[in-house]
Every structure is written in C-alpha cells, then in structure tokens.
Symmetry: C2
C-alpha cells in the first residue's frame, strides 16, 4: 500500500466511469424486456431454464418452501437475523415523516401529504452475492415506509431453489411475495407485470451488468435506486489510532471486490508506516487474500497530510461510501464532514458494525455520489403531494396578482381560470 504525501491543492476523486455495458449487452437486455412484455410468464420460464439451468414448475415461492428454509438454517442464524432486523427497523422508524399542514389568518391551508409507494420490487443476486444482510437492508425501509406490497425476485440454482438464508431474511424483513426469476427478465417482469407477477412502482437492489442495464431501460415506467459501484472505505485517523485495527478495517473493505477502494488519510507519518506494515502482515492469511491484495495494490492508498484539517478536506473531496473517524475526538471532527455515505465514529464503530447490525442502512452512495445522494432510507419509498387549499378571502386578496403574473408569461387561459371565479354567470350555482 503506497504512502503518498499530499498537499492542500491536490484534486482527488473516487469517481470511476460506470460500466454502461457493451452495445451487444444492451441489445440483449432490450430483447429480453420485449419478450417478457409480450410473452409474460412463458418468457420467464424459458430464460430461467436457459440462464439459470432450472426447469421450474412454479415461479412463486410457497409457504412450505419458506418453512423448510427455517429448518435448514442454524437456530443461531435466525436469532442474529432477528436482532439485526429489530435494530434496522428501529433506526428506520426514526426516519419516518408525517404529512403536515399550516394555515394562515385568511383561511389558506398549505402542506404536504406523505404516502407510501404502493408496490416495490427487491432484486437479490444469485450465487455467492446473495447476502441475507442486503435482503434486510433493501426490504426494511420499504416496510417501515408502509409499502403494502414488497416483492422479492432472485435467480434460482439449478435445482430451482433459492438460498435458505435469503428466504429466512426476507420473511423476517416482512416480504409479501417471492419469485424465482433473475437477470433482465426479472426486472422486466417487475416493471411490466406477467400473469403471475403484478407490476411494481419501484425496483431496488444490486445486480450484475444485465440487471443494471435493465433497470436503466425501465426507469421512468418505474423508479429505480442508484446503480452501485464498487465498495469504498476512507479511514481518517491521527496518531491515537491503533494500526492493526486500521489495517483490519481497510482489508474488510478490500476483500469485497478487486475494484474496492481502501484509503487511509492521516497527518501521522508514524501511523501511515505502521498501517502499511500491518496490511501486509494481515493480508497473508486472509481466505480472500487474492481479491483483497488486488484491491489494495490497485486502489489502496495512504495519504499523509500536513494537518488533520487538510485530512478532512481530502475526505470531503473523496466523498466516500464509508468513512471511519479514528481521531482523539471523533465527534469534534463531525461538523466538518460534508460528504460521506456513512460515518463511523471511534474505534468501537468498526465498519462491519454498520454492515450487519447497528441499524443504519448499508446500501450507500458510491463513486463520489455521496456529494449528492444518501443511504437507502424510508423517504425513498414515500412520496409527497403538495396540498393547496385557498379560501375565498385569500383568493380574492391575490387573484389580480396571479392573473397578472399569468399574462406576463403569455398564458391567457391561466388568467381567465382565475377570473372565472370573480365573475357572476348564469351557470354559477352559488349565486
């Protein structure tokens, strides 16, 4: 892991170009979507056979399959999932907003009515990427928002099964329906509906390039979440940080993906050198050391700054997905942090505490997008309607100004709609 002395004026960024897919991949995705639109379930069965090797009798996961999943997993796993689900529910409940109104002395009422989205689809990738923690993190904000129908889709294995851990986590999170379908075909089914799967209004959850491209294609018909990039951690530390803990945290991110980014920013050259040594030592016996080493080699870095203030400046430039603050007084640094998906304060807030357990969502903005986007949250599953209720008194007080503004913009029918309320006419029942 290279140590780089950095000056105030250096421009840094975590932005990488997003994989927009090849022309060939986009064509395949468009074809799949068109076939699902036209042929419905039949297309899902055929694609599942072709891509996942499973000859399904039914797309729908039955209650019996969910019961069997509970028998297949450790009792301890269920306990931990339940405790994590409780923490996640609690944190997300605090986010929930209510409709609000205010009134003025003329009898005007203005406000926002908040309503949940009717139906949400959650995509869960297949194979080793089927993380039960992601199932909780994607379903529970929708559940807390009050979404009435939450539909999980995931590609089955060759035997036509979904992982027991995924079924248990989904059930604990409060899923409404689960279907065996993956790839672009599952996204198309969620957006346009088939005989078996009713369409939804919003689709969330990570997936491979075909899933990502399909989400982009159906965006507008339904809403989608962010397209996630590789994971990132930035550790902001001073000389009070413990080197082997810092190194362990950097590696926990690096093991995710060869493309993951792990960065230490510190004014302490001593810490920098010790962490550098610890990373090498700890890498040696990691099960996923090939992945972690590749990530550290290509994207890892230790930036040494002149001061902690400059280090904070670097953090705000990078706008990382995960930020750990391992300084003498972490809360003292917090007001200066402008851009980060999740901020972990102090040595007992190691990043995995947030990944699984604490309650805040682990679906976070990557790729520098923490400059303008947020962790997945309850607001993502609710929408606002403006409420405008003018009294006759308020209307008469302002009507001429409103009509004038309309005419300034050349919109005569707008002005006349206002003036229609001021006229006395034969068709006016209220006269």
């Amino acid at each position: 892991m290279k140590i780089i002395h950095i000056t105030k004026d250096q421009k840094l960024s975590l932005k990488r170009s997003i994989d927009a897919g090849t022309e060939e991949q986009r064509k395949i995705v468009r074809e799949i979507i068109e076939r699902v639109k036209k042929e419905g379930d039949q297309a899902l069965y055929e694609y599942t056979k072709r891509f996942d090797g499973a000859d399904l009798q039914s797309l729908h996961v039955s209650k019996e399959e969910i019961s069997r999943a509970y028998e297949a997993v450790d009792k301890e796993f269920i306990d931990i999932v339940q405790e994590a689900a409780e923490n996640i529910f609690h944190f997300h409940e605090k986010q929930k907003k209510e409709s609000w109104f205010y009134f003025d002395e003329k009898g005007t009422m203005l406000g926002q009515k908040l309503t949940p989205v009717d139906a949400v689809g959650v995509y869960v990738p297949g194979g080793t990427a089927a993380y039960p923690s992601s199932v909780l993190m994607n379903i529970m904000p929708a559940k807390v928002a009050g979404v009435g129908r939450i539909v999980l889709v995931s590609p089955p294995d060759q035997n036509g099964s979904l992982p027991a851990e995924v079924l248990v986590a989904a059930n604990e999170a409060g899923v409404s329906e689960i279907y065996k379908a993956g790839g672009a075909q599952a996204i198309a089914a969620l957006a346009y509906g088939t005989e078996t799967i009713e369409p939804v209004d919003k689709i969330v959850g990570p997936g491979n390039i075909f899933v990502a491209l399909a989400k982009r294609e159906v965006f507008g018909t339904v809403d989608i979440d962010m397209i996630a990039g590789p994971s990132e951690i930035v550790v902001l530390a001073d000389e009070t940080a413990v080197p082997h803990e810092v190194a362990a945290d950097l590696l926990s991110q690096a093991e995710h993906d060869r493309l993951a980014t792990s960065i230490l920013v510190t004014p302490s050259i001593k810490l920098a050198k010790e962490v550098q040594k610890e990373v090498v030592a700890q890498l040696a016996d990691l099960p996923r050391k090939d992945i972690a080493a590749a990530s550290i080699e290509q994207f890892g870095a230790i930036y040494v700054t002149d001061s902690i203030e400059e280090a904070v400046g670097i953090v705000n430039q990078l706008a990382p997905e995960h930020l750990e603050v391992l300084t003498e007084n972490p809360t003292g640094v917090l007001p200066k942090i402008k851009h980060a998906g999740a901020i972990f304060l102090g040595r007992y807030s190691s990043e995995p505490v947030g990944d699984y357990f604490a309650g805040p969502n682990h679906v976070l903005p990557t790729n520098g997008t923490a400059r303008f986007s947020s962790p997945l949250n309850v607001d993502d599953f609710m929408k606002k309607s403006s409420i405008i209720s003018y009294s006759e008194e308020a209307f008469r007080a302002h009507a001429s100004k409103i009509a004038k503004f309309a005419r300034y913009e050349g919109l005569e029918a707008h002005a006349r709609a206002i003036e229609a309320r001021l006229e006395k006419r034969g068709s006016d029942r209220n006269e």
Copy 2:
C-alpha cells in the same frame, strides 16, 4: 371533448413513452459533451454562435446586466415576483429537516447528519419557454436547503442577452452566478466544468430534447432531476362544481402544449355535459386556441363514473401531475387520494394559484410518475450521512454476533476487523 362512461374495472393510465431521442440526436449530444470536456470555454463560445447566433464577449452575466434588467421590467412585475418568492420561500422552509441522533443506555449514538449539496446548476430554456416562475421554483428549494452555489445557465438571444424577467427572477431567488450558455453544451459545462464555469453536483430545470439527452448522459457524474413530460390536470368534481370554472381550469392546462392532458372525472352526467359545452364556448376566443384545441381533441376526456368513490379510484390510477378536487367537501376526499403531484382543494384553489403564487413547487411529477415521485422540494438538495458511534460497552456486547454474521456471509476480514478490537497486541497504544 368526449364523454366516456367508465366502469370500475377499466384500466387507465397517463403513461406515454418518453422521447428518448433519435440515434442521430444522441450522437450529436455525445459529441458536444466530449468537445466541451476537451475544449472548455472555447467550445461554449463556438456552439453559442452556431446554435444561438450570438457572438459573445463573455459567458458571465455581469452585475450591470442584472441592474439593467431591473430597469427594463415593470415595477409591478418586480413586486409580484417578490411576493411570490416570499410565499415560495415560506412553504419550502417548512420542509427543511434537521440532523438527528438518538442514544441508548450502552452509550451508542446513531443518527443522520443532513447537509446541503455544495453546488447546483439550474437550466432555463430560451425563447418563449423562459418562464420567470420556473426560475423561482427551481432555484428557491436549493436556496432554502442551504446550497452555497447556485448557477443558472440559459441560451442568449442573437444579441447575446437573456430576458430581463429571467434575470430579475433569478436574482430575487438568490442565484450565485448566471452564464449565457444553452443546450447540451451548457449541461456538459455544468457537469465537467470549463475555465469559467466550475462544475456543480446536481442539475435541475426543463429543456428541449438535446438538454434532456445531455442530462441523461451526465447522470452519475452529477445528479439530475426528473425528465418532465407534458403537463396534466385531472379535475375530480361532483354536481356542486361550477361548469365554467371547471372548463376554464381544463383549458388553462391545455394551452401549455398540444401534448398536454386535461381530464374531468365526475359521477355527474349533468356536470359532464355542461363542462363539455363550456369548453367549446371558452376555446373560441383563447389566444392560444390552436394549441388548447389540439390538446383537448387528442388527450382531453370527460369520464363519468357511477359514484364519487369510483371517481377517486380513477384518479389514483391516473396519478396526475395536478389534481383539482371540486366536490362538496374536498377535504373529506383527501385521505383517499394516494397519487398526485399537487392537490388543489375547492373552487378557490384553481390550478394557476399554485403555478405562480401560493408557495408549493410547480415542478411536479408527470406521466404517471406521481406513483413514486414528488414535487421538487428541499430534500432534493440535501443529503443524509448515517452516523454510527458505538461505545466500548455496546461493542463488546454485540461483537461476537457481528463476527458470526460476517462469517455466515463468507467475509472473514469483516469478522477479523471486529475481533481486532478484542485482542491485546503490542501495537495497541491503549493497553
């Protein structure tokens, strides 16, 4: 305007396919973006000459130009803009959320830190589409959110000027910088920056197909707002509504655009017939009657239902941009309305009241997207960072569960990052 008797089970939708541009248009847009990235200001000057016919000396609008704009417009226009700006400010201020935290008995602190986006770009179309009300509506939520830098871009006329009304509205709304640049080149400049224009983090505001395609291209590098479709109004009315007022409101939407949609939903066949007659009568002498008549002819409709409940069901299916409720007790209907961008209650809340003056935003979800999206609002210009601060006590209480969950997901380095805090090692300064 045709009257259609409708039954409960009929499926209706306002969704129309979104103009995704031709392959040729997309190619042009990508070329423009690449040139602006490479050549910066020089490309902006050349494109402005080619597309807008203006030979600019400077991209930046000076303080003197803004002063001259105030002299060029009516005093009354300034007064109305100021009063509207005050109302808009007031309504949007009520939306502003604060950072929040909570604590547990083990000393854990969890919460969300809310911060404004650093810099926002607002696109204002040229020519007759340069509405000062839109300038207010796009800038002010960002201002209220606390965005430090708000940059307006708009294509100049052949003399290299922007409309005085736009400059006055922008200044009243609190703009930071104004530049003369339009089309895809202006979007590229906002996303990637040039010598004169620093890049922003988010771009909002309507534009033609080239602007819309450019926004799609730069999405990810910066955030963008929704791509707006043609305007829509649905009037939900019973026999107490005043026919000539209903007709005037339908026409005020129809005059916007040949593609606009104006729909009346009512259980009253009497009202339906009277409104139908009034629409014809009022169309006759509208200045924009060609546009309004085309819109009414192609997309206008009067749906007659069996009951007011069924009419509400139709409204929720349509999920309109604007909804007027002209029934005996409009507030009584409100709880049943699930999907609408803005809801206008009662006869004195004619839709133009909200367009210009009342305070709620007129940038609203179109094309059925009110099922999952919201009016432009302060939250769109703020983002959340999760805060996780675990105490040693809380950490020790949960560490083994967190490590176990990590190992269930096959992520050993995650488990070790947790366990690193439990070890005693030589490099641990705290021992």
